[in-house]
């Protein structure tokens, strides 16, 4: 059996039973990478040598009986997370040679938990995109259909898990960048509450929306990984000093007596009929678990996309100002004076989608436009947040499709940014409200493309999120087929 196709909890059993070593697992992962990576291209860089060194250390720990939560588990990191001494590109040419002198807090926590890092995964440049097609380092393909995109921006992290090129991975979600690729690749992906997982060392796209979360093969692995990465960090001002519960305790509690809200605004024209059908089926499963599904309203839903595409680019335009060629990263050698150096560096260093968003954001913050755009968007954002607060007075969780369509073809939407932006229509509101969300596989289309259902709960209710996702996963018993690579 290929160890790389197993889950964290399955591997932990094997390790405990002495049936597998960390080295065995890492070897199987890299064998798989050697076999499929040229087709999938989930990674920007691999950490093969280090991984085997870490695996042998993990094996020493295993022999000594020192088992930590992720001892010997191969984990991939989105290349947006700073890794000390290891190149971190954020999918951009402008950081092609950037080697951080520090680890992201999440990277530290995973290390302490015994995880073995496989490599840095591909992503849309600066996490700006929904298909992983804007990466400077080439596109990533969907393991279920190599002609299709894996979703984005954390497409590499999703594809790596789906293709068994790692056991679990870490991504970041600013408007759906974990949940959308998780749905399109047929795996589990969670965006925790804003402030739950430290952003320190996460290269910022939109600071008030960015949140780190896990990609896993099932909900149990999601709970295990969340136990490791969640928690207060004094290095981040927006980190929330709250205790983290043991998420594994929520895994088999059931949802009898729960009320689950189905927002009517999410069943819009343009949803793929197969997604629509899978949602109906999922509602049936939830009701079968003893929960009541009710129609709810999130009245400001129609403004989410507009609000997001003002706030996120505005913050990005400022966050990306530091890439000026002065201190690190790419610098154009053609500039004869300062302004020219700036212009040439940024013109050559950033791709078109990043430039588009910097320009939108710069415009939205400009004097004379600030009130009409950024300020207004912030006010509407407060209303969107209130929609959810009102909704959670009536229900325990909210359920929606994760995406309006299954994975689309490579190149299909690259020339039409608006169509591309629409692929995040169901996931963006979560980030604006700061609440947690999870995407869980809910079946396949007739063409064999995975689909996902999204659950949402109130702030810091990741436990309840795992509870409903786990109950659904067990009851839905989606066939555990693997992509036929």
């Amino acid at each position: 059996m290929d160890l790389n196709s197993l889950t964290i909890h399955e591997l932990q059993e094997k390790i405990r039973a002495g049936e597998a070593t960390a080295t065995d697992i890492v070897r199987d992962v890299f064998t798989r990478i050697d076999a499929v990576e040229q087709d999938v291209h989930a990674y920007i860089s691999l950490m093969k040598d280090d991984a085997f060194v870490e695996a042998s250390r993990a094996d020493a720990d295993i022999r000594a009986g020192n088992l930590r939560p992720l001892t010997g588990i191969p984990v991939a990191l989105k290349d947006i997370l700073c890794t000390k001494g290891f190149r971190t590109t954020c999918g951009s040419h402008i950081l092609h040679n950037f080697v951080p002198p520090y680890n992201a807090t999440v990277v530290e926590k995973l290390k302490e938990a015994g995880a073995v890092f496989v490599g840095k995964t591909n992503m849309d440049e600066f996490a700006m995109g929904s298909s992983t097609e804007t990466s400077y380092y080439g596109i990533t393909r969907n393991p279920w259909d190599l002609e299709r995109i894996p979703g984005g921006s954390s497409g590499g992290s999703a594809a790596a898990v789906a293709a068994d090129e790692c056991i679990a991975s870490i991504g970041s979600d600013t408007g759906g960048s974990i949940r959308q690729p998780a749905a399109l690749c047929g795996i589990v992906g969670m965006k925790p509450t804003y402030g739950r997982v430290s952003r320190f060392g996460l290269i910022a796209f939109a600071s008030s929306l960015d949140q780190i979360g896990p990609f896993t093969k099932d909900v149990t692995d999601c709970a295990i990984t969340m136990n490791v990465i969640a928690g207060y960090d004094s290095r981040e001002s927006t980190s929330v000093p709250m205790d983290v519960p043991d998420y594994c305790k929520y895994l088999s509690r059931g949802i009898g007596g729960w009320t689950v809200g189905i927002p009517k605004e999410y069943f819009i024209e343009g949803i793929d009929p197969e997604i629509m059908a899978s949602m109906k089926k999922a509602i049936g499963i939830i009701e079968g678990l003893g929960a009541k599904c009710i129609e709810i309203s999130l009245p400001h839903t129609e403004y989410c996309l507009a609000v997001y595409y003002i706030i996120a680019p505005a913050e990005a335009s400022s966050n990306l100002a530091r890439y000026d060629g002065v201190k690190y990263g790419f610098r154009s050698q053609d500039g004869r004076e300062l302004l020219e150096m700036y212009k040439k560096t940024r013109s050559a260093g950033f791709g078109p989608e990043v430039k588009r968003r910097i320009m939108i954001g710069t415009y939205a913050l400009s004097s004379g436009y600030y009130d009409a755009y950024y300020k207004k968007a912030s006010q509407v954002r407060a209303l969107i947040k209130r929609d959810f607060e009102e909704a959670f007075k009536r229900c325990d969780a909210i359920m929606t499709p994760t995406t309006p369509t299954p994975a689309f073809k490579i190149g299909e939407k690259t020339d039409d940014p608006l169509q591309m932006y629409l692929s995040d229509i169901f996931t963006i509101s979560t980030n604006l409200a700061g609440i947690p969300g999870i995407s869980v596989p809910c079946g396949f289309t007739g063409d064999g493309l995975p689909m996902g259902v999204q659950f949402l709960t109130g702030h810091f209710e990741e436990g309840k999120l795992i509870q409903i996702a786990s109950a659904y996963e067990k009851s839905a018993s989606i066939e555990k087929s693997r992509p036929g690579l």
């Binding site: 950037f98 520090y102 004094s234 981040e236 913050e315 400009s366």
Partner: protein
Amino acid sequence: MEYEPVIGLEVHAQLLTDAKIFCSCSTRFGAEPNSHTCPICMGMPGVLPVLNRKVVEYTMKMALATHCRINGACNFARKNYFYPDLPKGYQISQYADPLSEHGYVEIEINGGKKRIGITRIHMEEDAGKLLHDEHNPLSYVDLNRTGVPLIEIVSEPDMRSAEEAAAYLRRLHEILVYLEICDGNMEEGSFRCDANVSLRPKGEETFGTRAELKNMNSFRNVQRALEYEIKRQQYILEGGQVVVQETRLWDDSQGVTHSMRGKEEAHDYRYFPDPDLVPIMIGDTWIEEVGKSLPELPLEKRERLIIEYEISPYDAGVLTSSRALADYFEEVARLSGKPKIAGNWVMGDVLRFLNEDKRDIKNCPILPGSLAEMILLIEGGAISGKMAKEIIEDMYKTGKEPREIIETKGLVQITDEEALKKAIEEVLAANPAQVEQYRGGREKLFGYFVGQVMKETKGKANPALVNELLKKMLAAS
């Protein structure tokens, strides 16, 4: 037409915290370039700022000392612009919601008092420094100063002359140094000032077009630059032309201002609330706590000294020019019980010695107790004022106690009446002609006799006693 200048000042003061505002790097001045830096103040990808609480506390001190209202909630905003000394491409500052607003300070001008309004006091981070190679077209970036905490104090356009502006600036400087939240060093840039100045016909309500002046690194330069700029604008207006809104740099060596950039080149800083920092909530308890920790401020101290020690307003001004000097004076006054005399010694000899050596009162070799003792020795008649002048110089040079110096130098005053009578008799005997003249009505000669007696006694005679005895002995016969 008579024109009236309208002046407003923006002051930046570096706070004396040990650590920078958003990271734990040292704020110490003068270290090796880029040695006080970390990924946070260097603006590396993915790092985040965490506010140093001391910065809020220090800013609150200045706000309270200048009668500002402290806002219950304030936040940080990003000021976006590109420059190599600004590694993030934005400066974290405060914009729409500053820590404090609506205050004032009082200045003394033409013998009267005037209130200068303070629009706001807010917190921000300092930028780094560029060092330009003199021989090559190269510039180097030193980020040691990046992230050093600053407060910006913005005045209302309440000043009407360069002199008023200088007085306001001195007042702010004095308060900051009194509060011990800024070292006030203008040369090292811990206290910096930009000025907005415009002219309008006297009696007119609306403001004229203003110029912003930069690069004035001393009180004197601020006053000179403003005086120059007022004249320049007056010349333009009198010539029937219009003043252009622009930023101008003061050139110290030429004594003129030069245009740096015009209105159309002005930056659009695209301020917006910094999403990496949370709003700062300041409750009344915290404000009260900080209020209680404030020292007595210069103006209050001045007024108290005038009443308590019956000294002149001028003397009080000199003695309170720094907190340490005032403390020194009060200690001498208390120990000697002679505040006026104490004041004269402190302002006279002590300050003269210190100024000559460019030494701070905190490092004065004469301890307040020693000076008080010397004053008591004079009062008790053990030494004369003239002897004291010599003694205090030795005290300053050696740090020794007055008694010790008196003993080693044999400087004890002659208070023995018999000995003095003998000396006077000798003087009178040696100057019969003068005695004759004095007794004949030339009373001016009295001083001559005193001088002769002092000479005879090598200055050790108690002058009061000499006066008394001389009068008696000259009247006799």
